[in-house]
Amino acid sequence: MTPTPGRGAPYLFTRRMKTVTQPRRKLPVIIAIGDFAGGVTSWAQRLRRACENHPRLRIMLMNCSPAGGRVIPFDLEAPTREAAALALARHAPAVIVPNFVFDLYPVAAEQIAAGHDLRLIGYCRADSAREYYDPLAFYEPLVSRFVAVSPRCAERLAVRLPHRAGEIATLPTGVNHPPALARAYRRDPIRLIYAGRVVQHQKRVLDFVPLVQELLARGIDFVFDIVGDGRQFDELRAALALVPHGGRVQLHGRLAPDLMDRVWADHDVFLQTSDFEGTSNSMLESMAQGAVPVLTHTESGLDGIIEPGVNGFVVPVGDMAAMADAIGLLVAQPILLERVGRAAWQTAGRFSIERYVEHFARIVEQAWGAPPRLWPPGRPLEPPEPFFGLRLGGGPHAAPPDSRPPRVRRVPPPASLDVPSRRLLIMFPSPRRGGAEDYTLTIGAAAAAAGWPVHAAFPRRSATESLLADFEASGVRCEPLEFCDIPNPGGIDPRRRRFTRTLRLLNRLRPDCVLLQLCGIRYGLESLLALAWRRVPALVVFQLVREDQPIGPLRRRLYAWARGRGLRTVAVSEANRALLARQFRMDPTDILLIPNGTAIPPAEPPDRRLALRQQLAAQLDLPAEARLLLTVGRLDHQKGHDLLIPAIPHILARHPDARFLWAGEGPLRPQLEQLARDYGVADAIRFLGQREDIPDLLRAADLYLFPTRFEGQPFSLLEAMAHGLPAVTTRASGIAEVVEHMRHALLCRVDDVRDLREAVIWALDHPDRMAAMAREARLRVEDFSESRMIAMTLAALARAPHSSNSRGAA
């Protein structure tokens, strides 16, 4: 019988290929990892052991970290790129799993180009753009098959790589699952454990400090073992030393993965405080040994595995009181502890390493059966910035998200602001970052700069990671608060829970005033009611109000009741105010109008703009003479990208040099990409994804297109105007209050492809007229300055009456 060779035809005749096709020759699978604690390391070792007698696979672990303590044996050492290249060349033909060692991709690309027969499997191990989706999307041309460790990761990766969606397999980790559960549960003391990387980024290990405090406050008898190492090990130890836990908490450093099964079995509860995950390896390992998982709610990795109350417990990210409550429940009900532990063990049976090996072998065979993938000629092999991950050559990790420089500049308090300091809490229920969320950051940063103690409470999602970092860099303390109305994988939390969560937060922080930012009149009702219940003075800023989404009489009455208890409604534009007045049936003069504003940067010299333009064109592989038409906004229905696509063929027919740059991410991206292909304009559009250099893009572009369907007062348009970029937009909501048609920009009808098409063509036909409008627009936007917005908002907050709930009052 002839074994199935790789489909790459040229290799059929090479010496190397002949060796591969010899019967019973095992296929090397090189797994790149680092020599440190973590789920990937223990997965790799377990996989190697499970495949020892596998007829086809030969698992080789490659250590890519510099020499250090050897807790597990490695087959290959590749601490540098040179060593990695040598190892790959020596062991080719092989399948490579680079994991988070993204430096291995360019090394592999060079080896493939040199004729070595290699296939790569791209593993997506966490629900994080910076850590997995971005690098995998960048190196996609090299990857033969993708593996995502959760359906959520697979889905998000598919959004990035729609043309490869069929090649993404979902495969959580595999664990040693004993056929019978022979263990005892204890509750005096209950034995808690965390094992994994001791880092604040992702794992949020410093949350263990308030957890221990909560457990002590409840009088729960416990011991807590923390196993692992990482950047925050010392910090955590120091913080825990300040808590009088009487030796209940022990930090153990790293243990060999082989020992862990015994360790799990000796503990009753596994704790995890992460804010994002793929599918946690430790969670499944501990469940396989009957430990009860008590976890924070992450978007990925719980769906389909954890059934709260049945085989584990899930609490909001950062809510250590809730986690302590769950542990208290287990202590109070020993039967529950054992029942949930056994259910956890049963669940983990679905993830046995034996099953995993079967699936893994199939994926390896698929990868091997696929043709070899060469790096596209002319495309740079190195990313503009190194990806976060383990670097070859002993270099440091690229800056992780929690330590990168803040995106937002610190906002100085307005000179005219003379208001007393108040304890301010900023709340918004949004699960993503956009203009409205950045508005809260601006206000928070300004208040903090003015010396106000400021907290910001918002849902923790991977999309709000960067916001959290920016808030903290601005001196605002962040509190996780799950009160999002938008469904997540776990569904929408019940209203009651959102209400009580807000109450609990208010009790803890006791703010003098609250700024509640809502992206629609249907959002955040429970928190709003909690504020009213506590009579906390609050400004409720409605960034977006839609005419076609009316509210019912009950909700209207609840809002009226809340207004009577210290809540002030704020609109961001006149149109917004009129709509709010109509929806809430209130007098428009009772609604405070604080128009949105933007910072006005100094005028950029033309040569600098030109240089930025050329740089951007080169970066995007566009001809230098291309005309760059920029759109910034989430890729969803509201922003109207789909209206632009049918107009593009007509625009290109007249201006073949036009190129459309779309900065932003969103749920509509796959559909938009498909639509662009259908209209034959995919080459003219560049999807830039989430960008942090929006100001540079605004300086580099020739025209700003904003075909939005409805808005409050869009920050992105104000920003474009402030940067002196000519704009074509719609008459949606408050836009016409800022922009006069043909004076500051071109306005077209909402949802009108023809109007949009004609406006863009006119704008491209008349660059001088558009430049003149842009100059006028820059002057106009001074009426909508950020400092004015901040001053008005802080003054309104400062004027709010003292709350009976606040610390000051107490």
């Binding site: 009316p550 789909d642 209209y679 034959g680």
Partner: protein
Amino acid sequence: MEPRPAPTILLIHPGGLLPVAGGGAARAWALVDHLRASGTRVELVTTDHGDLNEALRARVDRLWLQPQTRTQMLQRTMAPPSLPLRLRKLVRNAITLAARLRRRLQPKPAAGAVCAFERQRNRALEELAGLAACRSRPLAAIATFVWMAPALDRMPPGTLRLLDTIDVQHPRRERAAAAGGCLDHLDLSREDEIRELTRADVLLAIQPEEKALLEQLLPDRPVCLVGHAVAIQPAAAPAADPPELLFVGQLYDPNVLGLRQFLGQVWPRLRARVPSCRLNVCGRVVEAFRGRRIDGVRWRGLVPDLGPFYERARIVVNPVPYGSGLKIKNVEALARGKCLVTTPAGVVGLADLPDGACHVVELAAMADRIAMLLADPAALAATEQAALAYCRDRFSAPVVYRDLLALLDAQRQPD
């Protein structure tokens, strides 16, 4: 030399094509059949027609269906064809009712918040039309009704954009109000209609008066007259007794109002003079008269074939009090060689109608005229012959589509 590929025409129709329950659908099918017969590929973009999708597919070269609504999907899942027909209908109706109830319970936007035109628009169908055009690269796209005009914006460059207006909409509301009717859902202003009409390269008018009106509204836009083509099929002579009358109409305000007035003012007098005469009422208009029992009136509802009813009818009546465009049912009656008795509003659109091709009388005189015709077979026969001659002259397919085909041919050969 290779033969040139058949040109493709994309027809964008907002739905209700099958079963044929109104003039709009009949007009669309007449156009489709003729274009296909003349060697043109016709692709149809329309809404999901449920069980009738396959029938639709059989009548065009390619079918583009707008995805089903949630209610339709639910109906399809909960009431599959395997269920007995009665049960299926019951389940479907229950789902429709539940959906209506849900809509009713939802908070409503403030009055005037969403204008009539926006309510009539079907954005999903517009998007689908754009997609279909990108894939098929048609020679021309024909959108029917003014509210489908935005779909034409999504056509790729080079596609000729035609808008089959069927009616000029903005005067209809006032006209209805003046006649005691109500077409408030059509509150489209003159300016808005002009704006929408300009999305097309060429406008299709259904009758000469509207052609003139459109030319006046948009002097720079070519307007092509495309009436309604019918096959001239003289029906067999009906039995002498009992004399039968026929009214055909969809559920549409002028039909309901007209029939109500006919039954109130004309029918009792007519029955008094010709006690044996009967009236068959076909079409969805019967839904407005559910439960009403009137001597001599038979409510037939939606029928698969109007042929037998035309054959049995001695006279076809059309008592509409107001209207615009062209009454397709009039043209169909004339094409079958039937004596048509109608109101002055009923003959709107029948240009240069010769005396004797039909009987145009006010409602007050209608009973006498019908009774007179029933009593005078010679007069009846003369009217029938004149009707056929008029129809041959005006509504045969080669005459109706001559200008349109010339236009398409010119588009095909731009040189």
